[in-house]
């Protein structure tokens, strides 16, 4: 089949939003399909929104048998066989309207714009043959705001076979960008409350903020230099595989993220138990407390308790790691499932 993958993008910003498209392209091409990838530039500024959406409506992809759309407002594309793998809305006009993130006045003009956007989105969503999302959180929002039913289709990681387990050290790893909303600082604080020799490794790049400095200061202030290792740099795929292969368990505790995050799936492929918090959002669709990991209250004390448990009861930790892998099957987190559903 000739399949077009369409998403909005910002030039030179890479990461999760592009991975899902590019990995899907590779997997589709492996199956023998012809794939064309279309990235379209888009800015969320309220006064520019509708002109850009009109532009998207004029894109002709009739040469494709099927079109799959990802980030907003790619779902505005017209095609007789349009499939959506809906990642998120323009949230400032939806669930974040009544929040400091709105970025525009709450006056009649902008409320009118918001309502017009909801109407246009809903109409464009209705044009799709099938609507998939990347998490239950997003599916719930689609239903609530647009009245649209959707199927959760969890995004798999690429080349999952490389992940493996080699043993369990004393170290809980958190392989993820060092950013405030990923809350590495909460884990560092928690380390000060632990009673076992459990260790912590934080590794990832940061986008030029002062957060890594804050973390470093915190580690020193709490006297944790011996037990908390921080690597503020881009971690290679090989390094990540190694860290996960050897670690005690993997942490992933962002503040209220929609999707479960690739780190949690990678750790599951490596058969490692997961550590997260009750307010982390989509990752809770993956992690069940006591089953494939621990879901702690987002306090240093509760996290410390969980970390100590992981350290002390290694048998259980290992068993939870095995369950983590099995859970991926339970949720159909696999490329074969993705292809089956998208090409149905």
């Amino acid at each position: 089949m000739k399949i077009a993958l369409v998403s909005s993008f910002v030039p030179f910003l890479y990461g999760g939003a592009r991975n899902i498209v590019e990995w899907l392209q590779t997997m589709l091409e492996k199956e023998g399909h012809q794939v064309e990838r279309i990235y379209l530039p888009e800015i969320d500024a309220p006064d520019l929104l509708f002109e850009q959406m009109i532009a998207f409506r004029w894109i002709d992809l009739s040469a494709a048998d099927r079109v799959i759309c990802f980030r907003p407002q790619a779902h505005l594309i017209r095609h007789p066989h349009k499939i959506l793998w809906f990642i998120h809305h323009l949230r400032v006009f939806y669930d974040l309207w009544d929040s400091p993130y709105r970025g525009c006045e709450d006056d009649l003009r902008h409320r009118g714009l918001r309502d017009a956007l909801h109407q246009a989105d809903t109409a464009a969503l209705k044009e799709a043959r099938h609507v998939f999302t990347n998490s239950q959180v997003v599916s719930d929002r689609l239903k609530h705001f647009n009245g649209i039913d959707s199927e959760v289709l969890y995004p798999p990681v690429f080349d999952a076979d490389r992940f493996h387990t080699r043993g369990m050290s004393d170290e809980i790893v958190y392989v993820c960008r060092l950013e405030h909303h990923k809350r590495q600082h909460l884990l560092v604080e928690a380390m000060a409350h632990t009673t076992t020799p459990v260790r912590l490794r934080l590794c990832g790049s940061s986008s030029g903020t002062t957060y890594p400095d804050t973390l470093r200061e915190q580690i020193v202030r709490l006297g944790l230099q011996e037990r908390v290792l921080m690597e503020n740099r881009w971690i290679t795929e090989e390094e990540k595989v190694d860290y996960l292969a050897d670690c005690l368990a993997a942490a992933y505790l962002p503040l209220d993220e929609d999707s479960y995050g690739y780190p949690s799936v990678e750790a599951s492929h490596a058969r490692k138990a997961l550590l997260t918090t009750t307010d982390s959002g989509g990752v809770l669709e993956l992690v069940r407390d006591g089953d494939n990991g621990f879901v702690a209250e987002p306090t240093p004390q509760a996290l410390a308790q969980a970390m100590d448990k992981l350290y002390l009861d290694r048998g259980r930790t290992a068993a939870m790691g095995e369950r983590a892998l099995a859970r991926l099957d339970e949720l159909n987190i696999s490329w074969s499932h993705v292809l089956k559903r998208l090409l149905a």
Partner: protein, 345 residues
């Protein structure tokens, strides 16, 4: 710098412009920048859609981009304060092809309106560009004639120079490139039939259509040349193409009135091979100087036959002309680092 290369896209079609964009990206990165390619789907049928496609590109908002290099209509309509054009194509069906009746624009007032809109939008984009380069002299002239804008010719360099190291003078003439009527490989066969028995010919490349390939095969048979001609009619792997070229006595490329220097000619010159072409080959003559870097013959079998004989019969002469061709090519300074530097000035 963050450099965005902006090109059209005809979904599922991949051609020379797409190749060029990829090589440009690679070389911009090699020069120390970041580079991405934005490919914009463009649908020009029916012609009444063209305004919407133009408005679509014009409505795009770019941020996090320091410099734009745009290649074709309507991609170059995109807005950015630092935009350089490397013009491969305007919408010729509104310009020179319109004048000769080869257009999808409707006749009468409707077509005129579309031409006006295209021309005005073009001029607006040309005026707001930092600098305009074209990929050939012909494109430059068209731009000057129809839109009144000046441009500098910036020829696309050879992409994988490391493959064309040359070699000793072989015993065959190599004719590379696409196979079709305009490229006139059949003329070489006619000429070969009149040349001495020691002259050998290797024609290799993808036929545009099965009929084009058949024509050559039939000619070889008809002229009884199967012991002196080898045909390898397919899309060649780069290494194979380079091998054929590097091992030749001389390289023949004689299309009718081509716009540019021709990739085959450029690659042959880089490899230090003597060049054979015809007097009506157009841009090719930029590299082929008769009796210096090769031979220029009248476009007839009778005129080409002695040229083929000479190229195959005199290794020293072939080598000398090949060396001269290489010198001339290098003096033109057409290479990627230089190209990137000019585009990003």
């Amino acid at each position: 710098m963050k450099v965005l290369i902006v090109n059209n896209m005809a979904p599922f079609v991949w051609g020379g412009a797409e190749e060029l964009a990829v090589h440009l990206q690679k070389n911009v990165i090699e020069a120390g920048h970041e580079a991405e390619i934005l490919r914009i789907p463009f649908q020009w049928e029916p012609a009444s859609r063209i305004p919407s496609q133009m408005l679509m590109v014009r409505a795009f908002e770019l941020w996090n981009v320091d410099h734009v290099i745009a290649l074709k209509f309507p991609a170059y309509l995109i807005r950015h304060p630092k935009k350089t054009l490397w013009l491969l194509h305007q919408y010729r069906q509104a310009y020179d092809l319109f004048d000769v009746g080869q257009t999808n624009l409707p006749p009468g007032a409707a077509g005129e309106e579309l031409r006006t809109v295209i021309r005005n939008a073009d001029n607006e984009s040309f005026a707001e560009s930092r600098k305009i380069f074209t990929n050939s002299e012909v494109t430059r002239q068209r731009l000057q004639r129809y839109n009144g804008f000046d441009a500098e010719v910036l020829l696309p360099p050879i992409n994988d120079t490391e493959l064309f190291g040359g070699g000793s003078v072989g015993d065959y003439i190599f004719a590379g490139g696409r196979i079709n009527d305009m490229k006139r490989q059949y003329l070489l066969l006619d000429a070969l039939a009149q040349a001495p028995r020691n002259v050998k010919l290797l024609i290799a490349g993808p036929p545009d259509s099965p009929a084009d390939g058949e024509r050559l095969r039939a000619a070889v048979e008809r002229l009884g040349l199967s012991d002196r001609v080898r045909l390898d009619l397919r899309f060649l792997p780069r290494a194979t193409y380079a091998e054929y070229l590097n091992g030749a006595a001389a390289v023949a490329y004689l299309p009718f009135d081509e716009d540019s220097l021709g990739y085959v000619t450029m690659e042959a010159a880089l490899a230090g091979k003597a060049l054979i072409t015809t007097s009506d080959s157009g841009g090719i003559l930029g590299l082929v100087k008769h009796d210096e870097t090769g031979w220029v013959a009248e476009p007839t079998a009778a005129a080409l036959a002695p040229v083929l004989a000479d190229a195959c019969g005199n290794a020293q002469r072939a080598a000398a002309r090949g060396a001269a061709a290489r010198s001339l090519w290098l003096s033109l300074d057409i290479n990627w680092p230089h190209t990137v530097e000019k585009l990003l000035r």
